[in-house]
């Protein structure tokens, strides 16, 4: 197991380095001079040049990349070009909103997927299965920003159960904050949950056809006991894989959904930073998002080995 984890940690580090290079290169190619954006189109060439020098943007790219990475390793993310405050200050608050939002969304979608997927598989090709799969197809097709608007109309404007947007801040109490995050996380969880529900269903149905399931039935286990003891664990492997992949889609979704709900999370932050050509903020936030995705997939890899003992044995 330790060899397995060590190999996975090495992969994780390599992926992070790769991600940082890609992020840096993309920001290099991105048109628009930060100094020009900050000073406005009317600024004199001298002023722009001076600011460029002040921001350190006149240094060669390789040096700037090196400075960025060594800075991160020392816990120093630099200052935002647009707001003149340390990047970490901007990121910290946003992180405390986006992480709970992502966790809530993935949690909701997994619960939805297991309940719907198992029910549909148990009632394969019956009315319940067909109805639920129809609904989940709808869930996959609805764009999350549009769903977000529908949710606001129903739960905030019509029923007045939940706030239409904004985020009060954690100091106002956990309950109020969770309430503020509920609609955004629903909007995010719908697509992911619908995809996972379909995967769960087909995976369970596939495992039901396995020889060892027939063995379990031949032992005298009921259909239900067979499902819980022999099918579910094996069926979870593909579900887990797709959950890891979908986590990336979910984080991308936060950019849109946070803006619809006016929530100052990472998604909103990165969008504003892109508009301001605040490249240093963009780079750091995107790297942070990439790290979150990579770490989640790392956890998925470890979970594989917990679920399936064959993986541990082969140390792949």
């Amino acid at each position: 197991m330790s060899v397995f984890i060590a190999k996975r940690v090495l992969t994780l580090i390599a992926t992070l380095i790769g991600a940082s290079i890609v992020i840096f290169l993309v920001m290099e190619i991105l048109p628009g001079d930060p100094a020009l954006v900050i000073l406005g189109v009317d600024a004199s060439d001298e002023a722009v040049l001076a600011l460029t020098k002040e921001l350190g943007l006149d240094r060669p790219p390789l040096l700037r990349y090196w400075g960025w990475i060594t800075g991160i390793l020392q816990g120093e993310l630099g200052n935002s070009y647009a707001y003149k405050v340390p990047v970490w200050e901007l990121v910290e608050g946003a992180l405390l909103i986006t992480i709970p939002l992502a966790v809530m969304s993935i949690f909701l979608s997994i619960i939805f997927a297991l309940v719907v997927g198992l029910y549909a598989a148990a009632n394969h090709n019956k009315a319940g299965d067909i109805t639920l799969m129809g609904i989940s197809q709808l869930g996959i097709s609805i764009p999350n920003f549009w769903l977000a608007i529908l949710l606001i109309m129903l739960f905030a404007i019509e029923l007045r159960w939940l706030p239409a947007g904004g985020f009060p801040g954690w100091k106002d109490g956990i309950w109020v904050c969770l309430k503020a995050l509920l609609l955004p996380s629903l909007a995010l969880a719908t697509v992911v949950g619908a995809i996972l529900a379909r995967i769960t269903r087909s995976s369970v149905l596939e495992v039901f056809r396995e020889d060892y399931v027939r063995t379990a039935r031949a032992k005298g286990l009921s259909q239900r006991a067979t499902l819980w003891r022999h099918v579910l664990r094996n069926a979870l492997i593909p579900v887990l894989t797709v959950t890891g992949i979908q986590f990336a889609a979910l984080l991308t979704g936060t950019v849109v959904v946070e803006n619809v709900f006016h929530i100052p999370g990472l998604g909103s932050l990165v969008l504003k930073a892109i508009n301001n050509r605040d490249t240093i903020v963009v780079e750091n936030v995107v790297l942070l998002l990439a790290t979150m995705i990579i770490v989640v997939n790392f956890a998925v890899d470890i979970l594989y080995a917990v679920i399936d003992p064959r993986l541990k044995a082969h140390d792949i």
Binding site: Y212, G220, S222, H230, P309
Partner: protein, 331 residues
Amino acid sequence: MSLLNINNLSVILETNKGPARAVRNLSFRLEKGETLGIVGESGCGKSMAALALMGLLPERSKTEGQIKLDGQNLLEKDDQEMCQIRGNRLAMIFQEPMTSLNPVHTVGNQIMEPLRLHRNMSESDAKVETLRLLDRVGIPNPQARFDNYPHQLSGGQRQRVMIAIALSCQPDVLIADEPTTALDVTIQDQILDLIQTLVREEGMSLILISHDLGVISENTDNILVMYGGAAVETGKTEQIFDELIHPYTQGLFAAMPKLGRAKNRRLVTIPGTVPDLISMPMGCTFTDRCPLATEVCQNTPPPVVEVKSKHFVACHHLDEARDRKTEELFS
């Protein structure tokens, strides 16, 4: 009353092309401690008949007739009642030891499951019994093997574990569906010997399913030859090998490779292939491949005739089949 009495059993599978009769009007009896070999080529309905006995047929299937265990018709029981019988009174060993065990549970846990389910054993009692069973089926060092996962065992060992599971609740009838087909030739004999020994010592009845006449002849008291879902010849093993009558049985026998035959001689085959279950001939299912077939075979189901005591053959041309030598029919 026989322990197991199968009466006119038919299994109909609902396929997209229409209903397929995988087993047609099969009848046989099995007494306590008796061994029965069911032989026939792939697709003749052997496995479907076995799954019907266990009540484990695929979802889209229908059964007709009776399967009586101690006089109780199993086909009238619901799934809950069948769960009491499966693994407890009827147990089954499958063809594929490599995929028949759950990869994510330890071998020990998988053997303990029926013990806890049917014999209401405590965890510790079940563990003691599991270790005994592992030892019984010839797995060395049971203590260490208990915590192994299936992938850490060889095919032969996995089949031994399957036997331990089947044996765990001392069933009345053990059904072994091609238990050695997927195994190495050297292991095959060991596994068959093991099944044979355990069946004898526990006083169980055995239904051994195989396509291999050799395996059947060495291990059973009675034989049932199946073709196209129907029994074509049944009787005592020695009796049948004494005089093979049905053209299909003769064909199967002729197709067995024999040591000492002249070199460069082609292996004997039965011409043609197994008929499509959906479009079976009205009469004898073997018509299309039978060297003796005439028009009557095509249209009328053959009568079942008792040629000797308890030796039954279903054929329209009994006399001719008995007169002709196997080598004349198939060469």
